[in-house]
């Protein structure tokens, strides 16, 4: 059905896909794994000739025996969506914000004159029919991704290309969306080409697997065999980077006795108008302890973190740091903030694109009026974050750095004030598998060397297994379960924790 022969794609002189051969039979499911920049998305977009004009495509792309590269425009438009359709990544931006989703699903049906009804399609992806009248911003992330799947199936294509269809969704929603996709692919005997950086997602969905690195396919085979016995070192690195919950080899934090408390949260409540975002939370982080706060988006974990940082005033309850209550404002709050620092999720947006590394790191010093030894302090912080030698990086602008290096700059900016607690909001969610491991190792080393405690907010249970001493599970504003990592993740006692653990895709 789909056959790629010697496919090579250049952008200018840069070769992003090199000499790729791939075949996909009807009803076959093929996973394409790789890190960002490996060329996997370029490869997928080339199938429907959706690459920008600057791309030069060589080789053959045969769709049902016809070469997409040489098709006339009219023929190409007829083939698009009717023969092969795409579930794009980031449904938030891939749906047009000013049109109702029902109209967007119906658009290709009218265009290609096929039969199909929006209500049936929505029903297939388990959405109620009245959602057709909704605009994209009125739907949740999972619902939007279901709309994308319904849209992809609108003209009854035989091939569906899914480009990171569940990235940015949290585990429970991801599991639901994958289940819908898997069921429809099996029911309608579709060919599926699924692209992801997450091997565990591909392992759940695809029978066959191809691994891409730097534009080339370095390994392919049956998914199970490839993951169980990786032959190429890159495949091995990818499989190792995703922690398996329960596997001692992926448990990087060494066991230690419970330390005396550094941060204590007592019966904390935070209201947004009438909704209670945080509802009676008790939480303790000890000196040098790493605590993972896990939960779905909307569970209140980010509000809790902001309240701990003193960025939000609690409606009731107390936050105690190092024995004394965190004040609600003024000079005393500023003094506490020096000791509690925040690391944000996406380094590329957390860093000001026009500030050099030196200024980005020195900013906190300037805010706190610590102008002496600025250079020495900044250099020390940058080296602590393992950007060595610091002199190589101080003058760089964020766009000159890789994603992992950018996250190290963010961490250096937090370290420069010599804090005792880091609050990290999804610190590795936007990073590639290989870089992710390095950042996790860095956070652990900072704990060993500086005695730095961390509260890590994440929906990634694998990260909690890798790094944390204790886990607190948050659901609808309440902590439903907390305890040691082994207790909570291996023998969960609360129903919600069990559901979370079950939703994690298994390799």
């Amino acid at each position: 059905m789909l056959e790629l022969k010697n496919l090579t794609v250049h952008y200018g002189h840069k070769r992003v896909v090199h000499d790729v051969d791939l075949t996909l039979a009807p009803g076959q499911t093929l996973g394409l794994a790789g890190e960002s920049g490996s060329g996997k998305s370029t490869l997928a977009m080339s199938v429907l000739r959706l690459l920008p004009k600057t791309a030069r495509v060589d080789g053959e792309i045969l769709l049902d025996g016809e070469d997409v590269r040489t098709m006339a425009w009219g023929r190409l438009r007829a083939v698009r969506w009717a023969s092969a359709s795409v579930v794009f990544q980031g449904a938030m931006h891939s749906l047009n914000p000013v049109h109702r989703v029902g109209d967007q699903i119906a658009e290709p049906i009218r265009l290609h004159g096929t039969t199909g009804s929006v209500a049936d399609l929505l029903d297939q992806v388990e959405l109620p029919g009245d959602k057709a009248r909704a605009y994209p911003h009125e739907l949740s992330g999972g619902q939007k991704q279901r709309v994308m799947i319904a849209m992809a199936l609108a003209c009854g294509p035989r091939l569906v290309i899914a480009d990171e269809p569940t990235t940015a969704l949290d585990v429970v929603v991801q599991a639901q969306v994958l289940a819908v996709l898997q069921r429809l692919v099996a029911e309608q005997d579709l060919g599926l080409l699924m692209i992801s950086h997450d091997l565990s997602v591909l392992a759940e969905t695809c029978d066959d697997l191809a691994v891409m690195q730097a534009g080339e396919i370095v390994e392919r085979g049956r998914t199970r065999e490839v993951i169980a016995n990786p032959r190429h070192p890159h495949t091995a690195a990818l499989t190792a980077a995703f922690p398996v919950i329960g596997d001692p080899a992926h448990r990087w934090a060494d066991p230690r006795p419970t330390p005396p408390p550094l941060l204590q949260v007592r019966d904390l409540r935070v209201n947004y108008g009438r909704t209670r975002a945080v509802d009676g939370v008790d939480l303790t982080v000890g000196h040098g302890e790493i605590v993972a706060l896990v939960g779905q988006s909307g569970s209140g974990k980010t509000t809790l973190a902001r309240t701990i940082m003193g960025l939000r005033t609690p409606s009731s309850g107390r936050v105690i740091f190092d024995g004394s209550e965190v004040p609600r404002g003024g000079r005393a709050l500023k003094a506490v903030r020096r000791q509690v620092q925040l690391v944000l999720q996406d380094p590329s947006s957390a860093l000001n694109p026009r500030h050099r590394v030196f200024d980005a790191v020195a900013e906190a010093l300037r805010v706190h009026g610590l102008r002496e030894d600025e250079e020495a302090l900044v250099t020390a912080a940058v080296e602590r974050a393992e950007l060595r030698p610091a002199s190589l990086y101080l003058d760089a602008l964020p766009h000159e750095l890789s994603g992992g290096q950018q996250q190290r700059v963010v961490i250096a900016g937090a370290l420069v004030l010599g804090p005792r607690l880091l609050v990290a909001d999804e610190p590795v969610a936007s990073l590639d598998a290989s870089v992710r491991g390095e950042i996790v190792a860095l956070l652990l080393r900072l704990r060993t060397e500086l005695g730095l405690a961390s509260l890590i907010i994440t929906h990634d249970l694998g990260l909690a297994w890798q790094i944390a001493d204790r886990v607190a599970v948050m659901h609808q504003g309440k902590i439903v379960e907390q305890g040691s990592v082994e207790e909570v993740l291996l023998t969960p006692s609360h129903d919600y924790t069990r559901a979370l653990v079950r939703a994690v895709p298994r390799v």
Binding site: V86, H93, S94, N96, H99, P108
Partner: protein
Amino acid sequence: MRLAGRFGGAALSLLMVAVLGFFLFRVVPGDPVVSMTRGRPSTEALQAELRAQFGLDRPLHEQFWSYLTSLLHGDLGTSFTFRRPVAEVILERLGPTLLLVGTSTLIAVLLGLWLGVRAAWRRDSAFDRVTTGVSLTLWAVPTFWLGMLLMVVTGDLFPSRGMRDTDTAPDFVSQALDVGHHLVLPSITLVAVVCAEYVLVMRSSLLQEMHAPYLTTARAKGLRDDLVRTRHAVPNAVLPAITLVFLRFGLVVAGAITTETVFSWPGLGLLFYDALTGPDYFLLQGLLVVTAGAVVVMNLLADLLHGVLDPRVRVG
């Protein structure tokens, strides 16, 4: 709630406009009666009479109160130069201004948005370069100079003064043709000068949407390029331009001072010029209230329309 908030905000702005209109012309240095009668023979008695006539001899708070109450009844005071109610003078000039500036703004908006869309869609093409280049040049040219240049270049082809000839037959068709004939040069001048603004706003707004992932979705569905543009890109890209367009519509009643002066067009712009040379304080005050009020109302309309066009800001 948010809808009520917007109306409330507009009402508050209108009140501020009224207050500002009153005090702005009271804090300017100099006695208005002295300025009004400057260069003309006047006596103490005449000046006192003028003061009484315009109510300037009463305490400030009384003046303010009577100003506000008459404003609510649509009474803007009496013009010194015209010796007639300000509201009447303004209303009389409103028609010609709406005709000239309204038509020109409408043409400039439609032409500018269309050119902007075309230019952005074929970025860096010859069409794009010529469009942005020409509109920027015209934007930079002084209005009076362009107007005079047009008069010289077109010679006797189009009339260059006033709105109608005195000897035109009184029937509607002849009158309309005559006004249309007079309208050509000033409206070309106005369109040429302001068009660039819409071209550039529309162009940059569409360029920002050009790489939006939902356009890739639309292409992947098999849509023709022009459908991708008109159905998906433009409805999103036009949103930022709406506010600008309506602000400009609000300024239509301010007239176009330079253009109307150059072509002696009997509109509000020319009236502004006359009121300033007077200086005719009550007329200026009335003009300020009317034009600022129009901007506030148009801005409110822009907000409401934005809500209709963009479901994300739709108000309940």
